[in-house]
């Protein structure tokens, strides 16, 4: 990339002074935007932060820009003096392939460290949690609690063969099967924020308890009319290689170290503002 070879280094101030480009439409078409190829950047003004996001996935993001990842993008863009341009795409199979790695946009605002991208520093760590109705006073904090055999347990399920949310694996190993209800993580995309159905069904009494990724649980519990209890999973270390806590950072294309450095600088500098943002959305952290 052109501006990767400049002498400005990663200092934000210096780059801002130089009127750098955060990102620009690849001068080459998608066809040529194979991962690993240098992307051409042309100077545009003002610089644009091109964000890949799901238009229907609160609390993370939506097309009305109400999610905490939308707010975080605002914060980052503000800090970089950039304007935001979204590429909306449902987060399901092919999301990264069709957005970030097709060169259609340059950053996903929240991701664990995964193979298909380069993650920034994590800006929070969260955990899978139990969600139950407060009135039921279900006191369960581990996946090996015998009480789970007598509860209707909701879990998210994934489509790939042999892949599932970690709790599903643990329950299956214990032959806790019949009382487990699977909710597709994709859900019905005609509904609002399909993954939230799992938490909403706890509130509605459809299931007794759910094992949910923390941010989703925290946000919907916070806004639930039925009072819900959110309990982080405990004693998970002995369940290795399964993990239940994940660091979440932003993600850029594998070769986009310049943007990664820049985002890391924002994360370091705006730590307090990010913490406040996460608190406002009820995101449980560990």
């Amino acid at each position: 990339m052109e501006w990767q070879r400049n002498k400005f280094g990663s200092s934000l101030a210096a780059l801002a002074l130089a009127g750098f480009v955060l990102a620009a439409s690849p001068a080459v078409g998608e066809d040529a935007a194979s991962p690993g190829a240098d992307r051409l950047a042309t100077s545009v003004d003002p610089p644009i932060l091109r964000v890949c996001a799901d238009p229907n996935n609160l609390p993370f993001s939506n097309e009305d820009e109400e999610g905490f990842e939308n707010k975080l993008a605002d914060l980052v863009a503000d800090e970089l003096g950039a304007t935001i341009e979204y590429t909306w795409w449902a987060e399901r199979r092919g999301f990264l392939r069709n957005t970030l790695n097709a060169g259609a946009c340059d950053v996903v605002m929240g991701t664990p460290p995964i193979d298909f991208l380069t993650p920034t520093q994590a800006y929070y760590n969260s955990t899978y949690v139990f969600v139950s109705r407060a009135e039921d006073a279900i006191d369960v904090a581990t996946l090996t609690d015998p009480k789970l055999r007598d509860l209707t347990i909701g879990v998210h399920l994934i489509g790939d063969d042999g892949a599932n949310t970690p709790a599903v694996h643990v329950l299956g190993e214990q032959e806790i099967v019949d009382n487990v209800v699977g909710y597709s993580i994709y859900g019905n995309y005609d509904e609002d924020s399909p993954p939230s159905r799992l938490v909403k069904d706890v509130a509605a009494g459809e299931i007794d308890i759910a094992v949910v990724w923390g941010p989703l649980a925290g946000f919907y519990a916070k806004h639930s009319e039925t009072k819900l209890t959110v309990t982080p999973l405990e004693e998970t270390v002995r369940l290795l290689p399964l993990v239940f806590q994940f660091p979440i950072g932003m993600g850029v294309r594998k070769d986009d170290h310049v943007l990664k450095d820049r985002l890391n600088a924002v994360i370091a500098k705006k730590h307090k503002a990010i913490e406040d943002l996460l608190d406002a959305y009820g995101i449980p952290r560990v």
């Binding site: 439409s25 795409w89 399901r92 489509g159 790939d160 063969d161 599932n164 209800v181 699977g182 019905n188």
Partner: protein, 774 residues
């Protein structure tokens, strides 16, 4: 695997039996003509671009459909589906001929009007059958067939000059009686014409040939193209408003396996769960029925089969908790006649009094519920994305169901009926006659959707009516097709995860040490998840008594350790890493299997999985394509390579062969790599990530060094004695297309059509003479 899908927990209930009202559409195409006439200008005079809205689509939706992908950075991706995406528009583009630009707009329009009014009137059905009749006069005798399409079809499918259904005939043998091209002259085989459908994704569609026209379906957005089968002239294009969002739901590239013909209509499925019937002459929509929901993860990729007055179609999406089904539609109206679910109660599965299980373990009430943990059948998979065959004597259809899903195997204890199962059903009612589950409690994504070929084999002196199933699990099943009992089941590729098939009980025996345990790496899983043979169909020659099997020789290791992320939820994925399963490091094979001796007659090793279908002819030639861009012809008896052609892109399509109106035998195949196996070359997966494309990338990382995506139909023939093929095509084209315009109006004895029919009859002999002369 085959297809992907997801759903909320009980979303299957939503599938219901919905129909998009299609009846009102029939009258619509007429106004299009005047719309086209209203703006005659030089540039558009030759191509009528017509847009008709059906249902009340918002302009935005229409724009989205028309703009296609990549044009806007602000694409609001798969936000909605269902109702919203159903609306929109479809387009028919009628190419009026001539590179010479001679037709005036008025003339073009007039021709068009005539064309379309003839095609759309209430008398359409009669028109068609009349025409078919005329055609057949030159072919088989005794045409007095039923009002439904099935009767005609039985005869039509026997006409070696045409190719009217994907499997060539109801038995699915993909055997052609044409013998003009043979071992002696195939060295002269050359390209006659080509055509690009414009979509560089996996091309699995078969070139269908009916009454001198060729029909091909593109990958999403599933446009249908009608071409003069001899000259390659584009006659019309049908562009349905296939929902853009469907692409994000498909598991394994956005493929389509082609169309079928019946009753004057070309019928096929679109990725967004519609079956469409299009007038074979004019390209007008006859009906369009909605059968499923992409928002719940369903797609449709298979090629339909028409039996009597029913169009049979199935869904895709087993990975993500779709409930599989087979559905019959009325060929005239597109209304649903019956639907058989592949999990659930006997009432839903259409298991009734007629049903007789071949083995005791498949006897009992509501096994589609009781062989699952509570309610797990509701998201249990078992889709039907493969092939259907039909035995007119027993009056039974045959097909297989896909893998169970979407849970880990330890979350679905039990046999998980009726996934990975072969069904025999009554085509009129859908009632099951028998069912045989090839992989109870499937662990390895060994779907049971592969073709069920119907043959009469001489086994130990007796002629037996059998169903042959080259299984994804690596076993060559020979079943009694009246009862579903296993006659033999022999491994035809390397198999390490099963001990064998117990012929007493009919059950496959898994190898215990290969049981997938959490956190443990299971190595040497053979066959790998795509199986020893995937969807790519085989062919059988009654002359050689051999079955021609394109397949892959892949093994895999699998470990649950990789962190992945979807939609706000981190999870632990399984890394499925596929690799060449042979010592030589090769990944594919084209094999001839002797069904009587139950051993391979010969094998041809290929670098990559042989992911294309095959056809075998009375000239004793078998054709197949490779992912490294070769279209090959081999001696059907010896396997000796005879001819090959370097294609623009890797081949994963299905070849067909037919007789042109010029009396030459043609062979057609789509070139364009993709599909599950080739997505790495077509869909820009990162080859450095070995487990991309659900693990297939690991076994095809070097594919981009051989090929990129493509979209080219290739049609081959022997050189014409009067000149080379290219010049013939050029000089013949304008005449042909004029004649075709006329024939479109079908004003009685139009020369083209009748000439065609005569040619068909005579062609066999003429061809033989021509060959002899050479």
């Amino acid at each position: 695997m085959g297809s992907s899908k997801m759903s909320t927990q009980f979303s299957c209930l939503r599938l219901g039996l919905r129909l998009t009202a299609a009846s009102g559409l029939l009258a619509l195409p007429l106004p299009m003509v005047s719309a086209a006439n209203a703006q005659p200008n030089g540039a558009t005079a030759n191509i009528e671009r017509t847009t008709v809205k059906f249902e009340s689509g918002s302009p935005e939706t229409v724009a989205m459909v028309l703009n296609d992908r990549g044009s806007s950075r602000k694409d609001k991706a798969p936000r909605s589906s269902g109702g919203k995406n159903d609306s929109g528009s479809f387009k028919i583009r009628t190419a009026q001929t001539s590179q010479t630009d001679s037709a005036s707009p008025e003339e073009t329009g007039a021709a068009n009007i005539q064309d379309q009014s003839n095609g759309s009137g209430a008398s359409r059905a009669e028109n068609k059958s009349g025409q078919v009749q005329a055609k057949k006069a030159g072919g088989a005798a005794g045409s007095g067939t039923v009002a439904g399409a099935g009767g005609d079809l039985t005869e039509l499918s026997k006409d070696p000059n045409q190719w009217v259904m994907p499997g060539k005939n109801y038995a699915g043998t993909r055997y052609s009686e044409l013998d003009q091209i043979n071992a002696d002259n195939i060295g002269n085989l050359q390209l006659a014409w080509t055509f690009s459908n414009g979509v560089n994704r996996g091309q699995e569609s078969i070139p269908l040939v009916v009454d001198g026209m060729m029909y091909i379906v593109s990958p999403w957005p599933n446009n249908l193209f009608a071409l003069d089968a001899t000259t390659g002239d584009l006659k019309w294009t049908f562009e349905p408003p296939t929902a853009r969002a469907a692409q994000g739901v498909a598991c394994c590239d956005v493929v389509n396996r082609g169309a079928t013909y019946a009753d004057g209509k070309v019928i096929y499925n679109t990725l967004d769960n519609h079956t469409v019937a299009v007038d074979a002459k004019t390209g007008e929509l006859v009906w369009r029925s909605k059968l499923g929901e992409i928002s719940n993860g369903e797609t449709m990729t298979m090629a339909p089969l028409v039996v009597k007055d029913k169009v049979l179609v199935g869904n895709s999406g087993g990975e993500m908790g779709v409930r599989g089904w087979m559905t019959a539609l009325d060929v005239g109206t597109g209304e649903i006649a019956w639907r058989a679910m592949h999990t659930g109660t006997d009432d839903e599965v259409l298991i009734g009094e007629d049903f007789k299980a071949p083995y005791a373990w498949m006897e009992g009430q509501d096994l589609g519920v009781s062989t699952w943990p509570k309610d797990r059948w509701r998201t249990g998979g078992g889709t039907a994305w493969g092939w259907i065959t039909y035995d007119p004597e027993l009056d039974l259809i045959y097909y297989g169901t896909g893998n169970p899903g979407p849970w880990n195997s330890n979350q679905r204890e039990g046999d998980n009926l009726w996934t990975a199962t072969i069904f025999a059903r009554d085509p009129d009612t859908g009632q099951a006659k028998w069912a045989y589950q090839t992989s109870p409690h499937d662990l390895w994504d060994h779907d049971g959707i592969n073709e069920v070929m119907l043959l009469d084999l001489e086994i130990e002196g007796d002629t037996q009516q059998v169903a042959v199933r080259p299984g994804r699990n690596g076993f060559m099943y020979v079943l009694d097709r009246a009862t579903g009992k296993v006659i033999s089941a022999d491994p035809f590729s390397k198999v390490t995860v099963y001990e064998g098939v117990d012929l007493e009980t009919g059950r496959i025996i898994p190898v215990a040490e290969k049981d997938p345990v959490l956190g443990k790496t299971i190595t040497e899983i053979c066959p790998a998840p795509p199986g020893a043979k995937d969807w790519q169909p085989t062919a059988y020659s009654p002359r050689t008594k051999l079955l021609y099997v394109p397949h892959q020789t892949l093994c895999a290791s699998m470990t649950t350790s990789e962190v992945s992320y979807i939609s706000g939820t981190p999870y632990l994925g399984a890394t499925v890493d596929m690799y060449a399963g042979t010592e030589e490091g090769t990944r594919g094979q084209f094999m001839a299997w002797d069904l009587v001796k139950r051993v391979p007659a010969w094998q041809i090793t290929e670098e990559f999985p042989v992911y294309s279908g095959t056809v075998v002819t009375a000239g004793d030639i078998a054709f197949y394509g490779t992912m490294d861009r070769w279209f090959k012809a081999v001696d059907a008896r010896s396997g000796e390579p005879l001819w090959q052609f370097r294609a623009p892109s890797g081949i994963i399509g299905q070849p067909s062969t037919f007789m042109g109106s010029d009396g030459r035998q043609y062979v057609a195949i789509m070139s364009g790599v993709g599909g599950w196996a080739g997505a790495i070359a077509a869909a820009e997966l990162d080859g450095r990530v070995r487990n991309g494309a659900l693990g297939f990338s690991g076994a095809s990382q070097d594919l981009p060094a051989y090929t990129r995506g493509g979209s080219t139909l290739m049609v081959f023939a022997l050189p014409d004695s009067g000149g080379d093929a290219a010049s013939l095509g050029a000089s013949g084209s304008s005449e042909d297309s004029e004649a075709k315009s006329d024939s479109g109006s079908r004003s009685g004895g139009d020369t083209e059509a009748s000439g065609n029919a005569n040619a068909d009859e005579a062609s066999g002999e003429e061809a033989a003479d021509g060959v002899a002369a050479q």
